[in-house]
């Protein structure tokens, strides 16, 4: 559980507030995406969850506990974070050691460590990278390893900053599916992202941050259709919705979008059938 209670934050006394009265609650097993323009305060907010920053005013609660006095090292057993820039995080000689570092530090027995590393590597399709140095990897691969290395720790709350940067469609799908599986295990996943298609596909809830304030918090399929919110947060409509909106306009039909690929296909199958039957009547 993550809860923000009217959180304000400024980096220095004379500076303006970066977070201005942030309140929300995320229950166990939720997948939540935070969106907003560059400079809206997203990374600042995220650093509060892992205790790297403390509110100037207000409270942050993790698992029914106010974390104001909790040491970061203790919090790290509950909350895992993958940074935006993997270069800030990777340091071991090999990818395998990188992945094993967290579990080792948490005192996991060696056998279990190995099993964990192997499992994560298979899930992310990076077994072929295990013996390489993180420095030899491409940008996208580094990103993936930095996320995988957080997942090996087995924390109950995961915070990922822009996890889909530099990822191709295949890897995104793997990542999305993996995160959805975690949810079934009661693990909470909180991400910051610009990737609207990824949100629509895998993240049911989205929080929109503009200028340090939450301007919307709710179902992604509803929020990602809101023209005004999309503008304010510097986003774009997901491809799936944009197509349907344009088709509705072209055919003078009401815009009632399907929000998943399966529904989308069914809908267009119907559209084609309808057009054919109307044609038949003429």
């Amino acid at each position: 559980m993550i809860e923000f209670r009217d959180v304000y934050f400024r980096y220095a006394k004379k500076n303006p507030d970066v977070l201005k009265g942030i309140s929300f609650k995320i229950t166990d097993g939720e997948l939540v995406a935070l969106v907003g323009k560059n400079g809206a305060g997203k990374t600042t907010l995220l650093k509060h969850i892992i205790g790297l920053l403390k509110p100037t005013k207000g409270e942050v609660w993790i698992n029914n506990e106010n974390i104001i006095k909790k040491p970061i090292s203790e919090l790290a057993q509950t909350v895992g974070l993958a940074f935006q820039n993997p270069n800030h995080q990777l340091f071991a000689e090999t990818v395998e050691k990188e992945l094993a570092f967290g579990p080792k530090n948490l005192g996991m027995p060696e056998e279990e460590q190995e099993r964990m590393v192997q499992k994560i590597a298979e899930n992310f399709n990076i077994t072929h990278l295990l013996q390489k140095s993180p420095l030899e990897l491409s940008g996208g691969e580094r990103r993936l390893v930095s996320i995988a290395s957080v997942l090996t720790m087995g924390q109950k709350i995961l915070v990922l900053d822009e996890p889909t940067f530099g990822q191709d469609y295949r890897q995104k799908k793997r990542l999305g599916t993996y995160l959805c599986d975690l949810r079934n295990k009661g693990i909470t996943v909180f991400i910051v992202t610009h990737d609207i298609d990824f949100i629509l596909d895998y993240f049911p809830r989205v929080i929109v941050l503009v200028d340090g304030q939450i301007i919307a918090d709710g179902e992604s399929k509803t929020i990602l259709q809101d023209e005004l919110l999309i503008q304010q947060a510097d986003l774009e409509k997901p491809i799936l919705l944009e197509i349907q909106e344009k088709v509705a306009k072209m055919t003078n039909q009401e815009y009632l979008p399907a929000t998943s690929e399966v529904e989308f296909i069914e809908k267009f199958k119907d559209i084609l059938l309808q057009a054919a039957s109307q044609e038949g009547k003429k």
Binding site: G140, Y169, R170, I243, I265, I271, L272
Partner: protein
């Protein structure tokens, strides 16, 4: 008159120092004047490495084993200095912070010109031209570190354009940007391609919003160029993976599958739909739906 490609790679091979595998293996292709090439491939396939061979960053600044030849306008770049090449090829990186250094946006754009000892007035004229072209008037006096990511990327593009190079290379230039800024940058690049005839090579993961501008796709896998040519041709190449299809094309393929190749529709309609080229972009998809609604 013989045809000289703008870019020509002949058996380009590269292995990073201390790596056992080749990052590039016998890559051959030619790019013509005015082409807009989209470089596609999985993470780690060698996209960035390939782009770095175009302006000599590889092999001059990365140690390793290099083989083959890169020619720009028919001339091998092997003997040329990277600085000299800046007049022929402009390079924009993934992360603009890697390349910004001046005190103001204006100075950043002027920097390459100053390096070539171009007369002051000429610099002034050129900088103003670029600022107007990229709509940077509002931020021209600001520090490149006090502006948004999208503006930083535009500044980096401005600086790459300063010497008016005929070739522009973009390495995942939009991946750090918000969707709106990314689209704006891609549109600007397409404009430079269309209106100024710049030859463009761009690596990107977002196919759907770029394909409308692209003339050729280069597909690279494990350091080998597996397919090269016009978008539809490459997508149909057996080497090209379904997973890297544009989302729209993949939706179309699924629709085709659930309708049994449109066989659930009357024959006339089926023929009509099959006659519409497979959609790659949103506009193509609209055409396809239109095709299903209008009689022949």
């Amino acid at each position: 008159m013989t045809y000289t490609p703008v870019i020509e790679l002949k058996n380009v091979t590269f292995k990073y120092k201390n790596c056992d595998k080749f990052a590039l293996e016998n890559v051959n292709f030619q790019v013509a004047q005015g082409d807009f090439v989209l470089l596609v491939g999985y993470s780690g396939s060698g996209k960035s490495t390939l782009l770095k061979t175009l302006n000599g960053l590889i092999p001059h600044f990365y140690s390793g084993l290099f083989g083959g030849d890169v020619k720009l306008f028919g001339e091998s770049i092997a003997e040329k200095k990277t600085a000299q090449l800046a007049k022929t090829i402009g390079f924009v990186f993934q992360n603009p912070e890697n390349q910004l250094s001046a005190l103001t946006v204006e100075r950043e754009i002027a920097f390459p010109l100053e390096n070539f000892a171009i007369p002051r007035q000429e610099i002034r004229r050129r900088v103003n031209e670029i600022i107007a072209l990229l709509d940077l008037e509002k931020i021209q006096d600001k520090s490149p570190f006090a502006i948004s990511g999208g503006e930083q990327q535009l500044t980096a593009i401005g600086s790459a354009l300063a010497l008016d190079p005929p070739i522009l290379v973009f390495d995942e230039t939009t991946s750090h940007l918000s969707p709106q800024s990314a689209t704006k940058i891609i549109k600007k690049i397409a404009e430079l391609n269309r209106e100024q005839g710049k030859t463009v090579i761009l690596s990107e993961h977002r196919l759907d919003r770029n394909l409308q501008y692209v003339t050729k796709i280069a597909y690279i896998e494990s350091g080998q160029l597996k397919a090269f040519g016009p978008p539809r041709e490459v997508l149909h190449n057996k080497n090209y993976p379904l997973e890297l299809y544009p989302r729209i094309t993949s939706l179309y393929e699924q629709l085709k599958k659930v309708t049994d190749n449109f066989a659930i529709l009357p024959e006339k309609h089926r023929k009509q739909l099959l006659a519409v080229p497979e959609p790659l972009t949103i506009d193509d998809f609209l055409l396809f739906i239109k095709g299903g609604r209008e009689s022949v």
